[in-house]
Every structure is written in structure tokens, then in C-alpha cells.
């Protein structure tokens, strides 16, 4: 199955044209994307530092997770929405852009890992072994940073 028809459709929506025709829309949406990135990665980093036992150690994993989850979830929603708008405006460029596919693959794994393994560890609230927690945090950070690096590479490719 070829993905080309989907990318062609995405490239030709009214939103795509509107963003392309404007000088300021793309930069504005991208800046919102970057704001949300700071919140998303920031909260993911703090949660993972807690998991590894090297940040906010005096607070329980549950406390840290409960406080940060709405920010993580909210900023992810903003990232997906703004990211989709950016994608619409240059869908055919993305189609020929390997970093874009790398980013989407890593994004899928990062989200899946967060909402499976990380959530499972949070529910155990610190009773999991240190090694498992540190490993999981390392995998999570690697996946999210790969998303970020892949995203940055789209513009440079």
C-alpha cells in the first residue's frame, strides 16, 4: 500500500494552502510547537529523573507523576495538533524526507512506551527494582530525544 495518496491529499487541504500562503503562520505554529516541546520534554525529563532516583527523590513517584501528567498530556496534544498543521503545509516535502519517517516511527514508540512501561512503573510507585526503573527511564529519554532530533533533522535534510 502506498502512502502517496494520503500525502497528496494532506498537501492539498485548505489549511495547507493557508499556511503556505502566509508569511507568519508557519513560524507562529512552529514556535507554539517549540513551546509545547519544552513543556512535554521538560515534564518527561523530570518524571524520568524521578524514576532514576536522581531528581525530586524526596517526593514519591506517584506525587511527581500526578502533578506532571496533565502538563505532559496537554503539551502532547498541542504538539500533535501544531505538528499536524505544519505537516499539512509541507506534506509532499515530508513524503520525500527520511527524517520525517524516522521521527514518526520514534514518536509512535515513545508514546507507546510511555503509556505502557512508564505508566506501569508509576503504578508500582517505586516498588520496581532500581535497574528496571533506570533502564526504562533511559529508553524513554532516548526515544523522546530521537523524536526531537528527527524533527530538527526534517528542516536540515
Amino acid at each position: 500500500m502506498s502512502l502517496r495518496p494520503f500525502f497528496l491529499w494532506a498537501d492539498n487541504t485548505a489549511v495547507s494552502a493557508a499556511i503556505r500562503d502566509s508569511r507568519v503562520l508557519f513560524p507562529i505554529i512552529e514556535t507554539i510547537h517549540l513551546f509545547a516541546l519544552t513543556v512535554l520534554f521538560g515534564t518527561v525529563i523530570v518524571l524520568n529523573l524521578r524514576l532514576m532516583g536522581v531528581g525530586l527523590r524526596k517526593q514519591s513517584l506517584g506525587t511527581v507523576s500526578r502533578a506532571l501528567a496533565p502538563l505532559t498530556f496537554g503539551s502532547l496534544a498541542v504538539m500533535l495538533l501544531s505538528g499536524f498543521a505544519l505537516f499539512l503545509s509541507e506534506a509532499m516535502k515530508c513524503y520525500e524526507n527520511p527524517p520525517f519517517f524516522f521521527k514518526m516511527t520514534m514518536l509512535f514508540f515513545a508514546i507507546a512506551f510511555h503509556w505502557s512501561v512508564i505508566r506501569w512503573l508509576v503504578r508500582k510507585n517505586g516498588t520496581a527494582s532500581r535497574i528496571v526503573s533506570v533502564l526504562a527511564a533511559a529508553v524513554s529519554l532516548t526515544l523522546w530525544f530521537s523524536v526531537g532530533a528527527g524533527g530538527r533533522a526534517i528542516g536540515f535534510y
Partner: protein
């Protein structure tokens, strides 16, 4: 030598030229700059939200900031070094960019905001450490910090566009 001459000289220095002419160096340094941003400003955001009385309200302010500050400062150090390298590679452009000047201004104001907080309310933190909603000036410092860093990020990102 004027500031403009200095920028021109930096841009044409060995390092500035090497970064600009390499296919990989600029993207790698800029990618690192952005990832360090999330470490530095992301952890700062959690501290500022606590200061503003919006997050982790049951936890003492000093506990949240003492445990996260080393990470924030590490991220800031990486951002500073990579930022200087990026600046070297395009110092001429940065000199003429209103966005770069705004970014530096916001950075200085963020530093000033932090310094004022450290020298005033932070000194008396024992008296308000466990308050769910910290004193007005502490909340103001937290919210001002978040706004200024948002300004740093927005101006930095906009620098890359040729308006």
C-alpha cells in the same frame, strides 16, 4: 574595534568558519541546543510553576528547587556552550538581527529576575517554604520567569527565519 567588527571577526574565525562550512556540525550543535533547552527550561518550568503556586503545592518550594536546580544549570551550561558556537558561525547575521538582540535582552531580564528573587524572597524562604500559594512577589518572580523564557525561545526560533 566596534561590536560589528568583533562579530565579523568571530564569524571568520577558525571555529566560526568550520561550523558554518560543515554539513553536520551546525545541525548537530543546534539539535543539542534544542534538547538542552528542554532539560534546562523544562526543569525551570516545574520550579517556576511551584513558585507560582500552580504545581506540587504540597511540596516545600525549597525541596522542589534544590532537587531540580542542578539539572537546570547543567542544561543551561550545555545551552550556553552550544549557543556560543552557533553564534560564532553566524555572528554577522546575529549582529543585524533584531530577534537575536531581543533574545539577549530577554536572557538578561530572566537573569535579573532570578537574581532579584535570590537576593530577596529566597533569603527568607524558611518563612514561606511550605505555603501552598507563596507570597505575591514569589509568584510574580515565577510567572515573570516563565514569560521571559518563552520570549527567549520565541526570539531564538524567529532568528532563523528571514523576516
Amino acid at each position: 574595534m566596534s561590536l560589528q567588527d568583533l562579530c565579523h571577526w568571530l564569524q571568520n574565525s577558525e571555529w566560526g568558519t568550520a561550523i558554518r562550512e560543515s554539513v553536520w556540525l551546525f545541525p548537530i550543535i543546534e539539535g543539542t541546543h534544542v534538547l538542552a533547552l528542554s532539560l534546562s527550561v523544562g526543569t525551570l518550568l516545574v520550579m517556576d510553576l511551584r513558585l507560582a503556586g500552580l504545581l506540587l503545592k504540597k511540596e516545600p518550594v525549597s525541596q522542589v528547587s534544590n532537587q531540580l536546580m542542578p539539572w537546570s544549570l547543567s542544561g543551561f551550561a550545555i545551552m550556553f556552550v552550544t549557543g556560543i558556537l552557533l553564534f560564532l558561525s553566524q555572528a554577522d547575521k546575529a549582529y543585524g538581527s533584531i530577534w537575536f538582540r531581543l533574545k539577549v535582552l530577554f536572557l538578561l531580564l530572566a537573569g535579573l529576575n532570578a537574581a532579584i528573587f535570590e537576593l530577596t524572597l529566597r533569603r527568607r524562604i524558611a518563612t514561606w517554604d511550605t505555603q501552598e500559594i507563596p507570597p505575591f512577589r514569589a509568584r510574580l518572580a515565577g510567572i515573570t520567569g516563565m514569560i521571559l523564557w518563552a520570549g527567549v525561545i520565541a526570539a531564538g526560533r524567529t532568528m532563523a527565519y528571514n523576516f
